[in-house]
């Protein structure tokens, strides 16, 4: 189904809610003097978008806006994930001391705009659209990262992010121009058809083009060697924005990466496995990227003493784990990746939330600030952080374990034994640094200069929800996995 502009709007309701919300916030910001209502308004809008996604009519898929976007169940999964990330980020923003001093109207408008752009990224069916969406996400992210105007670290992070981002997206669009030159089209579906006539395929040129494109997408998911921005940006940005980048932006990056590398340039064979282009060995390249990403992320995290920085390197490693599902070239792998991104969303958001709760009370983000947290009235955040960190490690009874279980199952099924060994060794290494804050919180006694952690009902509420989700989905994960399973179908126009 190839829908025109007006007909497409039926599948575009969540996005329209967000756009209307952005405009509403900008206008209300001008009109009212009490800005404290804007946060809850943005929260309601993001939640409405999420509900609209849930109410999306069942459909086998369609091209929207003259084949610029695609609507399919894969897009629904990622839109839901991104909307959830937005809800958490806005919720955290309302409870964050850092954000309270900023221009509320601009902040929430840009946050919603970023969400909207991530939706587009997950739905792109055209290289130009993909580029525009990615740039849109990037621009909003730069602003949000530098939103603490009087904080040097925040500005420095924004600048670094901007420079890296500029280089990465410039390289990516150059690669896209190669693809356009080879296939004569920017449309994913046309590219697929053009590339599947192996006789005339300029193998080397396609490979170079893919590597160039990978720069931009790898930058969004923070895979090696395009990860260097992540530690600085995660450390400098306000914590809710760090969370949003870590879970939302990364999910959008994975959506685009998957949509480009699977339905756009590969073919689904019988039995749920994918065949890559003949002679263009990008799976091998990505296998390498995946191994290096998780290993480097974990090894670098070992030395960190700032919680945000530690979690930044951890999120690089987590992207490496998720890539394991990507490189095995099977629907099992993609499903495992989808599930893992959900798991990562729950546990990483939780971990950052606890960091924010501690930072709200003490103004500190270093591991030392957690000394004896359990013994100075902070037993609840201490236990919650422990749950999140164990989940990130992949210890059973948590959703992180189930995610890793599916990933390793796909890897073993695909007979990637080296990858499996590297993956489990990485899990063991990661335990060492995930235990660091746990050790400090429980095994050490407070010295008295750490400050106390206040009880904040708003933030504790979300923390409770995320901690419960981490454990509940670790015991009963059927709903999520069947949702991920339903989301495996990519609309490619073929009946």
């Amino acid at each position: 189904m190839d829908l025109g502009n007006l007909a497409s709007l039926r599948h575009f309701i969540p996005e329209m809610i967000l756009v209307a919300g952005i405009l509403a916030i900008v206008i209300i910001d001008l009109a009212v003097s009490d800005k404290s209502r804007l946060g809850p308004l943005a929260l309601i809008l993001a939640a409405l978008a999420l509900v609209a996604i849930g109410l999306e009519p069942a459909s086998s898929g369609a091209w929207l806006f003259h084949r610029m976007l695609v609507f399919d169940s894969f897009a629904i999964y990622f839109r839901a994930l991104i909307a959830l990330a937005a809800v958490v980020a806005i919720w955290m923003s309302i409870g964050s001391e850092e954000v309270r001093g900023c221009d509320q109207g601009e902040y929430y408008a840009i946050l919603l705009a970023s969400t909207f752009a991530m939706f587009l990224m997950a739905e792109s069916a055209n290289l130009l659209m993909a580029y525009l969406a990615l740039e849109f996400v990037s621009l909003t992210s730069y602003i949000l990262t530098g939103f603490l105007r009087h904080n040097r670290r925040s500005l420095e992070a924004a600048l670094k992010y901007l420079i890296y981002g500029g280089v990465a997206s410039g390289t990516m669009i150059y690669g896209m121009s190669w693809i356009f030159g080879i296939t004569g089209s920017l449309d994913f579906n046309v590219i697929n058809k053009a590339l599947s006539t192996p006789a005339h395929l300029p193998v080397l040129a396609v490979f170079v083009a893919l590597v160039l494109i990978l720069t931009g997408m790898g930058y969004k998911v923070s895979s090696v060697p395009f990860h260097m921005w992540a530690p600085d940006v995660y450390t400098g940005a306000p914590i809710p924005i760090t969370t949003f980048l870590a879970i939302g932006s990364k999910a959008a990056g994975f959506a685009l990466l998957t949509r480009f590398f699977f339905p756009a340039i590969s073919h689904l064979a019988a039995g749920g496995s994918w065949t890559a282009l003949e002679g263009v060995d990008w799976p091998q390249l990505l296998l390498f990227v995946c191994i290096i990403t998780m290993t480097l992320g974990n090894l670098a995290a070992l030395q960190q003493t700032n919680m945000k920085r530690l979690l930044a390197y951890s999120s690089i490693a987590q992207a490496g784990y998720a890539l394991m599902g990507f490189v095995v070239l099977s629907n099992d792998g993609i499903r495992a990746m989808l599930f893992y991104l959900f798991a990562y969303y729950v546990m990483d958001a939780g971990a950052f939330l606890v960091v924010m709760i501690v930072a709200n009370s003490t103004g500190r983000e270093d591991v030392e600030a957690y000394r004896g947290l359990a013994w100075r009235g902070g037993i609840v955040p201490a236990v919650a952080l422990t749950i999140f960190l164990f989940s990130l490690t992949g210890i059973p009874l948590t959703v992180g374990f189930i995610g890793k279980f599916y990933l390793f199952a796909a890897v073993i099924k695909g007979q990637f034994y080296i990858l499996a060994i590297v993956g489990i060794l990485n899990s063991v290494v990661s335990l060492y640094y995930y235990l660091k804050p746990i050790r400090v919180m429980f095994f050490e006694q407070p010295r008295g200069d750490e400050g106390t952690v206040r009880f904040e009902a708003w933030n504790y509420g979300l923390m409770g929800v995320l901690a419960c989700a981490t454990i509940v989905f670790g015991l009963y994960w059927s709903p999520i996995i069947s949702f991920a399973n339903r989301s495996l179908s990519f609309f490619t126009g073929a009946a």
């Binding site: 013994w375 059973p396 009874l397 390793f408 073993i412 499996a420 429980f442 095994f443 994960w477 996995i481």
Partner: protein
């Protein structure tokens, strides 16, 4: 009583939730909740013992419910001759160790909650017949152990706790990979251990060997087998008394239990080929090396820890024999080691509570001051040496007799080590309890009623099993002989596949 195994597994969790729900101020209640939970558990264990049908090797008291149908994962629990003795041991040791924990005076709420969670983890491992479930319980056990050592342990507790965690996690992720391999390469994908065992001939011998070694390393870290044993002395020295008791009494058994339950039952052909090296030779190294290390220790607790490594070697050697006597002796030795080592660690704890150090050479003449304590220590030491009339004598003799036909040289080493064992235990006894009384210790009271209460039941069991080993052997024999037959019967097939 169809849910008796679910009850025995999850009663501690109910206790844990109750403890967590009570306010911090009700300190006295926490320990009594733990006492009640473990007493109920012990009661159910005795009920199981009483109603266990010893004539069959089939699974009894089974419960099965689908959990994750897409991956054929089910909540499948049951007992057979391999696990029944371990369930008894766990219930017994947990009950004793709650009383041994009464000295804990910091953050009691967390302590007893963790203790009960650990209890569920251990019991769950022994009742699980679904590999996925087994793995979940296996890992669940790690978390409370980490905190119990790390929060309530000695001066170097952080180091010991993280070393314990890293070692065991490395082992368990290897088990995870092997588990996934077993799942995907089986005839019909399943995690059901009984089904996997029934279709074991489906696996190629090459795959069996790789999976066997991965599983072995995972389990060997828990035993702990040489060269993966280095976490154990650290963990023991730093852990509080009750945790040492659990560690030595139950946790170490999980390694050998896993080998029986998974390696032997699911991969019999590889077991037959590889056991002589990985279980026989490494077991013998454990026996000799552990005893020699024990001899060199000056820390009382570290000495017991190394002696524990040495004694676990007998279990491995017995498993490598593939004779009815060897395998029966091995599992009986697991039980006996559990009771005797638990006694020894409690005894170390008694003196540490009074002297606040464990330097063997720093004591002397305690027999004059603490006669009852000395008498019980002497009893436990003799049991550890494997003196006739005590339980360990039967199991070690069974192991050595059983292994004699297949591995005579290893048996020679194992038997000769009995002299080393006697040597270090008697020498320790002499240095601590005999000779002139050290003036510093002349005010030490003898055993309190609570301490005696934790020791005497274990001593009685040691004595009973010394003269009537059938009380445990009767439970094991049918299942173990059957398992042994399975392994032996594949040996011919394995040889045929090789050529």
């Amino acid at each position: 009583m169809s849910h008796v195994l679910t009850l025995i597994t999850f009663i501690p969790i109910a206790g844990m939730i109750l403890i967590l729900a009570l306010p911090d101020s009700m300190k006295q209640a926490f320990k009594w909740i733990a006492v009640v939970a473990t007493a109920l558990q012990l009661g159910i264990a005795i009920f199981l013992y009483d109603n266990f049908d010893t004539t069959t090797s089939a699974v009894q008291f089974a419960e099965k419910a689908s959990w994750m149908p897409a991956y054929h994962i089910s909540y499948f629990i049951g007992v057979d001759g391999i696990s029944i003795s371990m369930i008894l041991l766990t219930a017994l040791i947990m009950f004793i160790s709650v009383f041994a924990s009464f000295g804990i005076n910091r953050a009691e709420k967390g302590y007893y909650a963790m203790l009960l969670m650990l209890d569920t983890g251990m019991m769950g491992v022994f009742v699980s017949l679904d590999f996925f479930l087994f793995y979940i319980f296996w890992e669940v056990m790690l978390l409370p152990m980490y905190f119990l050592i790390g929060i309530w342990g000695g001066p170097r507790r952080e180091y010991a706790a993280i070393k314990f965690f890293l070692y065991t996690l490395l082992g368990s992720v290897l088990i995870l990979l092997a588990m996934l391999g077993l799942y995907y390469y089986s005839a019909t994908p399943t995690f059901d251990l009984t089904e996997l065992a029934a279709n074991s001939s489906h696996y190629s011998i090459g795959f069996q060997r790789i999976a066997w070694i991965a599983l072995f390393i995972g389990f060997a870290i828990k035993i702990p087998a040489f060269p993966f044993h280095t976490w154990l002395p650290d963990a023991h020295v730093e852990a509080p008394t009750a945790i040492s008791v659990i560690l030595a009494g139950v946790l170490l058994k999980m390694g050998t239990y896993g080998i029986l339950r998974v390696n032997f039952a699911v991969l019999p052909a590889a077991s037959y080929q590889l056991a002589w090296l990985f279980l026989g030779v490494i077991g013998t190294i454990n026996i000799v090396y552990g005893a020699m290390c024990a001899m060199a220790q000056t820390d009382y607790k570290k000495l017991i820890a190394y002696s524990s490594i040495s004694h676990m070697g007998y279990v491995m050697l017995g498993l490598a024999a593939f004779t009815a006597a060897g395998i029966n002796g091995a599992v009986l030795q697991m039980f006996n080691h559990g009771t005797i080592t638990a006694m020894l660690f409690i005894l170390v704890g008694v003196i540490y509570d009074r002297a606040h150090h464990r330097e063997i050479n720093g004591f002397g003449g305690l027999a004059q001051q603490m006669p009852i304590y000395t008498a019980i220590t002497g009893f436990a030491f003799f049991a550890g040496m494997g003196l006739p009339g005590m339980s360990a004598f039967i199991s070690e003799v069974l192991v050595l007799l059983g292994a004699w036909q297949t591995h005579p040289i290893m048996v020679a080493f194992g038997a000769a080590t009995a002299i080393l064992t006697a040597g270090y235990l008697l020498w320790t006894f002499q240095r601590i309890y005999l000779g002139p009384l050290n003036e510093k210790y002349k005010d030490f009271p003898d055993l309190s009623f609570r301490e005696a209460f934790t020791l005497v039941p274990l001593g009685i069991i040691v004595l009973i099993l010394g003269v009537y080993p059938h009380a445990i052997l009767g439970l094991l024999n049918t299942s173990l002989v059957h398992l042994n037959q399975v392994v032996l019967s594949t040996s011919g097939a394995a040889v045929a596949m090789l050529h």
